[in-house]
Symmetry: C2
Subunit: 370 residues, 2 copies
DNA sequence: TTGTAGGCGTTATCAT
DNA sequence: ATGATAACGCCTACAA
């Protein structure tokens, strides 16, 4: 911008804002051609004499040379960057997945660009476009945010790995949410519960749909009736759990157990029950999903189906990497595990579980130390 | 992937993996030069006749043209990408900050590259290097991860905004952590507590140091002694809070109140106390920091100093944007607010707060509904 | 072992 | 109003 540095150029070393040295500077200082410098700096297999190599390395060091990846990417048609679409990073669920992705990505020098879609189609579209303009090598899409139409709008999309979707003709990493919900519900049934409600996730979420399916399947298998008003939908959040609980427990004959489709919902529910003078697990049993770090630290500690979120992230990136290198892309289904803690117990022997509020000094409030 | 499209190239429209059309394709199809196409596509002020413009636009649409930002960035020497260094995205604290950053960034079409440093110097260095090779326009560094030496190693770094640091000659966004801790501690003092402990954060964290300073200052101002063994250091985590609590409560004369330097620590501590048969707030009062969404949903609900994390993220990005445009960069200090809930109450009238375990049915266990 | 030259896709400058 | 050309920084055939 200054009139006189167009020609002064970087050779002078003058402190322009963008004064990073180019490979030509390095080559010049080492007394070699750019090609030779490049060969040394990229660790090419092309032979270079040891003395020359040393001079180039020294020059690069002295100049604080940093290769311009833009130029390199333009030429090689690959950026070693990947785009990640999640509904919301501030949701612990996705935050942990993102961590797994980033850890795996950084191991191969790849950069991760995050995008929060809020599950909104317009955001998905614009982020997708921006990511493709940046020529990311691949995409990881979590939270079932992506639809066929989004991709159709775009020629030549890079490889995509989806997290938590199935039935899509795209490589995916997921858990068996149906089976997970069956396990959670069966646990309650085996404890003796007969009226089991479900705090289900939002209608747009496939994960939510699968867990609801599993819940119903377990009920059916046990010959228990599936009452429509024992299912409340809501966000996978603290507030969602609370609000759903308000609906579930607004009746005269409330359930004795609840399958909450996320730990956040479960915690919101437990709080609500507490305010209503209902004790967990004495009056109501609650099981959550995800086994977030929190689950074992709440009072009472939450029984939860562990979903290996960090691993999901890692595997998604591993899958994408394979897609980028070879091509083989087996879908991955990770195992889940029910972690039984303190929020689940047999139902009260008596039929009306909701006889009295807080006060009642029964036995010890919760099982015991961790 | 299909065997026969390797040579089909993009001109034919065949679906090669990297078949995105270039501006030359668009120009060709519209019967104009690349320069004209560029002028239309970039919304340049340079005049273009309406019919030509239409043809270019149509061609671009037909071809599914996506500008190659690599080439553009190379030329313009700016990438509209920013790098964000955080200790760990899976920590809710940073996850929310990141969300704020990304929201603000996307409003100006900037991409966010996330990096998890785990507060390790080697990771900081390598991420920094990678980010600079990618020629990010700017950097946001959270968690006091950066030191002078890291930057010194590098010529011509782009603008940097730090989060949560002060005393560094870099534009910053932060809160008054000393004042926040004074407020939290004073709250306990005003409740009548005299033995107040502190679950402090890790020694490397400036935030932790500031909060500890505030805690001590409040004690001193109230004429209360500062006992060294009433301070336990640990990670800002559930486990950290738990372990710190073990040390704090290993003595015969435990404190009656604790300033926990994060909500996570506070929750870990509450759980530990529960296991030990100590009731919160009856036997021990606890105040946390951050006011995470969880704070109002735990049982009992956590008294906490609210830190506006989302806003911190947004402001950091806003500051960086200003740095990139004009240059003015006033440091930002955001206000905090003490949110009093259910974990703090006056100490037991009797002197030995730890007389009996669980059983004792005192008054109503917690204040009341939210 | 080293150097030369061409091109990756854009945009800015300078004609026309 | 439009077009030709150079340059951004790098890598890789190909030549020497």
């Amino acid at each position: 911008m200054a009139p006189d540095d167009a020609h002064a150029a970087h050779r002078t070393g003058g402190g322009r804002r963008d004064a990073s040295a180019t490979i030509l500077d390095v080559a010049g200082r080492a007394g070699v051609s750019a090609a030779t410098a490049s060969r040394v700096l990229t660790g090419s297999s092309h032979a270079v004499s040891p003395p020359t190599r040393r001079r180039v390395l020294a020059a690069a060091r002295d100049l604080g040379y940093l290769p311009n990846m833009l130029a390199r990417s333009l030429l090689k048609r690959e950026t070693s960057a990947v785009g990640v679409l999640v509904p919301d990073v501030s949701n612990p669920y996705y935050a942990v997945i993102l961590r797994g992705i980033e850890d795996a990505a950084s191991e191969t020098g790849r950069a991760v660009i995050v995008c929060n879609t809020d599950r909104r189609g317009d955001k998905v579209r614009s982020y997708l476009r921006a990511l493709l303009e940046r020529r990311v090598d691949g995409l990881i899409v979590a939270g079932g945010t992506i639809r066929r139409e989004h991709l159709a709008a775009v020629r030549s999309a890079p490889p995509i790995v989806v997290i938590g979707r199935h039935g899509v003709p795209l490589p995916s990493v997921r858990v068996d949410n149906v089976g997970a919900a069956v396990a959670a519900t069966r646990h309650l049934i085996e404890l003796g519960h007969r009226r089991i409600a479900c705090l289900a996730g939002p209608a747009e979420s496939l994960t939510a749909a699968d867990r609801l399916t599993g819940y119903r399947r377990a009920l059916r298998r046990a010959g228990l009736p599936a009452r429509a008003d024992d299912v409340a939908r809501g966000e996978f959040s603290l507030a969602g759990g609370r609000r759903g609980g308000e609906r579930l427990f607004a009746r005269d004959d409330p359930p004795t157990a609840v399958v909450a489709c996320s730990d956040q919902m479960a915690i919101g529910l437990v709080r609500l029950l507490h305010e209503r003078g209902l004790r967990v697990p004495d009056d109501v049993s609650v099981v959550g999903f995800d086994d977030s770090p929190l689950a074992s630290h709440t009072v009472p500690a939450l029984t939860s189906v562990a979903i290996p979120m960090y691993e999901i992230g890692r595997r998604a990136m591993a899958l994408l990497r394979r897609l980028l290198e070879d091509g083989g892309a087996e879908p991955v289904v990770l195992p889940v595990e029910l972690r039984i803690r303190e929020t689940t117990a047999p139902p009260r022997p008596c039929c009306r579980p909701r006889d009295r509020a807080a006060g009642a000094p029964g036995g010890p409030r919760v099982p015991g130390p961790a």
